[in-house]
């Protein structure tokens, strides 16, 4: 049995009863965190473009809900708009070793299909777990070379979304094999847009969620796909990776729950900035330094951080600022935090932040790079204005599995994000949080929001 076949058998045979309680609870946490990210983007460019496209090209209403505007559409367009929405504010979850943001592709597709099919909260949770477990393993399989050019959340995300919907559709092993073929051959998404601060990141997650759902519905209706799309000679790894590791596709299925390794984002910036941000914050607190006392910050990072962040020197937009190591560290140093409010009110306009930005550099660090992507180590070397050299190090950034957010912290993040956009009042947000904690007892997800 090939690694792909083993993965597909696992996905077909996985039942709700097999899910350990911590996995179920964490899936609810991740769903809440995802919903917050989607609501936080309400009204912000380019989300209304996707809303208008869905209204123009889709039905005027339908069984699946569009989170940011309270409308409904077909499952396809709900997945499209919700996929775009939940990746905009850079607050959605991340799995470290796969460098995949699973929530923003898995949940839009799974919720849309669950609503369309009238499935229960338990079926939704099971589908999401299947999507996470498959997506993370496929991301790990594709390796670091893939991520240098391709936005893994877009490419691998298409397969993760497809798997979640396939699980809701009750696929057997054979259908999952065909599904991976049809999803994998649609996998796309290049990092090139970062240099220009273009809107492609939202296009990527929108399309990954929607294309994955399309692959699943067509597979259910009998569309066949390549049986070896991941490992084959003209498949995904052959075309888009140079260091693929097939054994990662099927390693520890049902024993290792990769979903539990997913990190929540604490800062509202690209995850590659978080280890250095936490290390700097800790060093400043430890040494009692303020921003003015710092002459230089050298962040010692993994190559992936340089690939993704290296393009941005002077950010031109708020979104680009989230990919600027100097800006993120500037917000941390000057204001003590780098949340959505700080990005929108201070990242581009506060001269103290831009002054600090120019003090920050990135260099490749062998130890940090060797640990990546399994561990995201934070290492900073600070030179003070009075000539001292200080070192800061953290091994688990805030939000990582060993340093995770509690349900109270997640609820607080939900309130902050929904109030940032004005999508929900505090009382409405509380009610929605309570509904999420009841997901596993929800008999039907239709009209859930």
């Amino acid at each position: 049995m090939s690694h792909t076949q083993a993965l597909c058998r696992f996905l077909a045979e996985l039942t709700y009863a097999q899910l350990p309680e911590p996995v179920l609870a964490r899936t609810e946490d991740l769903f809440l965190d995802w919903l917050a990210s989607a609501l936080a983007s309400q009204g912000a460019h380019p989300i209304p473009l996707f809303e208008r496209y869905a209204q123009k090209m889709g039905p005027s209403s339908g069984p699946a809900q569009v989170i940011v505007n309270g409308r409904s559409s077909s499952a396809y367009f709900a997945a499209l708009v919700n996929g775009a929405s939940s990746h905009l504010v850079e607050q959605d979850d991340l799995h470290n070793s796969s460098v995949l943001h699973p929530a923003t592709v898995v949940f839009p597709a799974a919720l849309a299909a669950a609503q369309d099919l009238g499935k229960s909260g338990r079926e939704l949770l099971l589908a999401a777990v299947a999507g996470y477990e498959a997506g993370i393993r496929i991301g790990e399989f594709m390796g670091r070379s893939h991520y240098r050019i391709f936005h893994t959340t877009a490419t691998v995300g298409t397969l993760a979304a497809a798997v979640a919907v396939g699980k809701l559709l009750g696929f057997d092993q054979e259908q999952f094999i065909n599904l991976l073929g049809s999803a994998g051959t649609q996998a796309a998404g290049l990092w090139e847009f970062l240099r220009d601060a273009a809107d492609s990141k939202q296009l990527h997650t929108a399309k990954a969620a929607a294309d994955g759902l399309l692959a699943a519905y067509l597979t259910a209706d009998g569309l066949t796909g390549a049986r070896n799309i991941l490992e084959g000679d003209q498949g995904l790894a052959a075309g888009m990776s140079r260091d693929a590791e097939p054994h990662k596709l099927s390693a520890d299925l049902g024993r290792r729950w990769a979903l539990l390794e997913t990190s929540f984002k604490f800062h509202a910036s690209c995850r590659h900035t978080h280890p250095a941000a936490d290390a700097l914050l800790q060093l400043m607190q430890r040494e009692g330094l303020d921003a003015a006392a710092i002459a230089k910050v050298q962040t010692r990072v993994h190559q992936g951080a340089i690939d993704v962040l290296g393009r941005v020197t002077t950010p031109a937009t708020v979104h680009q600022a989230k990919f600027s190591m100097g800006t993120v560290l500037g917000l941390i140093a000057v204001h003590g935090k780098a949340g959505l409010v700080e990005f929108h009110t201070l990242a581009l306009s506060d001269p103290a932040v831009s002054a600090f930005r120019d003090k920050v550099s990135m260099t490749l660090d062998r130890e940090v790079d060797d640990a990546y992507p399994q561990r995201w180590l934070g290492r900073v070397t600070v030179t003070t204005e009075d000539g001292r050299t200080l070192h800061g190090a953290i091994d688990e950034p805030k939000g990582d599995p060993g340093n995770s957010l509690s349900r109270a912290e997640l609820a607080d993040k939900f309130q902050r994000l929904t109030q940032f956009s004005g999508a929900r009042t505090p009382a409405e947000a509380d009610a929605l949080i309570a509904k999420v904690w009841q997901l596993r007892n929800t008999p039907c997800m239709a009209h859930w929001l």
Copy 2:
């Protein structure tokens, strides 16, 4: 000015008045040929799956027509279904040096958008020319290494479709740059499905046409894209090619009309089989041989033919038979032709064809490979049952620009294809052919079919 910028300026500035008469006439020819291919697939798997998906996920009716079922939908879903339909029977056009099938991605998107936007036949023709000129150059730019793993009609087809719709939307240079970014970052499609005779080829063209249209409509509404998606360090060529040639993007714009180099398909098989099929046919006629007199056929081919056809030894489906060099040559040798009817009635069931199939081999030929993809040379070496060794060679397969189909031959092909599926009676087909020859005088494409 970069090559991409030069291409975008050309696309923005191109007017109908600039199109030479042969280009206009050939575009009408190509449109007719495309329409025949779409109608020929009516009722055949997997096209009804795409029709049902469009009905489920799209509006119940709309401004754009679905060719195979007479229904209507939004432009997005019409492009999706028509894109799937026109690539099924392997009779759609091909541009040699780019190895792109332009019609099946350009026309579905262009017709759907023209109907949605109420554009004229002239605007449709101009948009199609823009799509062909851009798509062919981008295909040539991506090089042979791309085509080894990726289905160029799927990947580059997304950009070609997008450009056609962008032209209908009246894009300026800046919008075309953003459009290429948003289309290019969606480019996907792997050859892996061929080994399994899976349905991905139709998924590829469906998605290329629909995704290209989506990119154009979102760009018109303000979505930005990577400004250097083709040539950039994390762009299409960086991720999916090893021999890209940027100068090909902007070479001879407005002087060389690449659309005129597009070939019509005469045999109903993969184009990679046509040079050898024509060479064998010519040799058999020249020498007065019949199939029984032939002991062995060695086809001397380019590497691309081996990559695409080498997977298929014993075809299991009619579609796979079209990718089997032995089967195609068997039909030619035993029945004198390899049209749709021969494939559906004889390719899998006639023992004389399968017996001939086993006499056919492919070997890489240096001369043929060096000429490819600019020229598709046909070279066969036949060993006869009485021990002679005979050589056959043709330099321009039937349907190539220097050996093209006349309007009468195209009309005949249209009749054969529409009667094959029963989509149109001969009289209805004649009426439709006459409408196509009036395209440039059609004031509005809405409800055109």
